[in-house]
């Protein structure tokens, strides 16, 4: 699943470590999420979206929707 985590982190000036601590996961998980290698559970997706004060769909992009013209 595509996501804007890296972009939003840079906008909000948060490091991977800081974001990992805020959502109670390891830094490796944040790295995997940013690379699109791992899809988070709804709980983790919600926690991450809350950090950036956005809705889940503003942070995570479902590929079927991304492909729509």
């Amino acid at each position: 699943m595509l996501n804007r985590i890296k972009e939003l982190r840079k906008i909000n000036k948060i490091t991977q470590d800081e974001l990992a601590e805020l959502v109670e996961v390891s830094r490796q998980t944040i790295i995997s999420l940013e690379k699109g290698k791992y899809n988070p559970s709804i709980f983790l997706a919600y926690k991450i979206s809350k950090v950036f004060n956005l809705m889940i769909e503003d942070v995570f992009i479902f590929e079927e929707i991304a492909k729509e013209p």
Binding site: E24, V25, S26, Q28, T29, S32, Y38, P40, F43, L44
Partner: protein, 136 residues
């Protein structure tokens, strides 16, 4: 998952290890049942159980250790361990199948096959964990 629940779970797990170790020690001291194996089980389970219990008792009042415990049990790690366990089960299943068919032909007895299988299962599981850590 709450850290208190995780610590409690691990303390119960370590108590089980201690009980197994003590039982094996009693059997070693008081009976002649599989002396070597009982001593091996005691040497493995008892110190591990005691060590785990001490570590998790310390973790109750240590925020840094509690953070590490939460991260060890994060969803990605659980996902990877579950996936590795699933793959390992099926690989081991086929090894048992092949061993059952060809073991008697090459003169492998049950005890030897069991020992080889135990070692292989460990290697297969941890290899799968490493592969999945890289993949996800």
């Amino acid at each position: 998952m709450k850290v208190e629940y995780l610590i409690k779970k691990q303390k119960i797990f370590s108590l089980v290890f201690i009980v197994i170790g003590v039982t094996a020690l009693i059997l070693y001291l008081l009976t002649d049942i599989q002396d070597g194996i009982m001593l091996g089980i005691t040497s493995g389970f008892l110190p591990t159980g005691i060590g785990l219990l001490i570590a998790y008792k310390k973790a109750e009042n240590n925020k840094e250790m509690q953070k590490k415990i939460v991260i060890e049990n994060e969803e990605r790690n659980i996902f990877i361990n579950t996936k590795a366990g699933n793959s390992s089960f099926w690989i081991s299943f086929w090894i048992v199948f092949v061993g059952t068919i060809f073991g008697p032909i090459i003169g492998l007895n049950l005890s030897q096959f069991g020992s080889i299988l135990l070692i292989l299962m460990g290697i297969i599981y941890f290899s799968n964990v490493a592969i999945n850590h890289n993949k996800y």
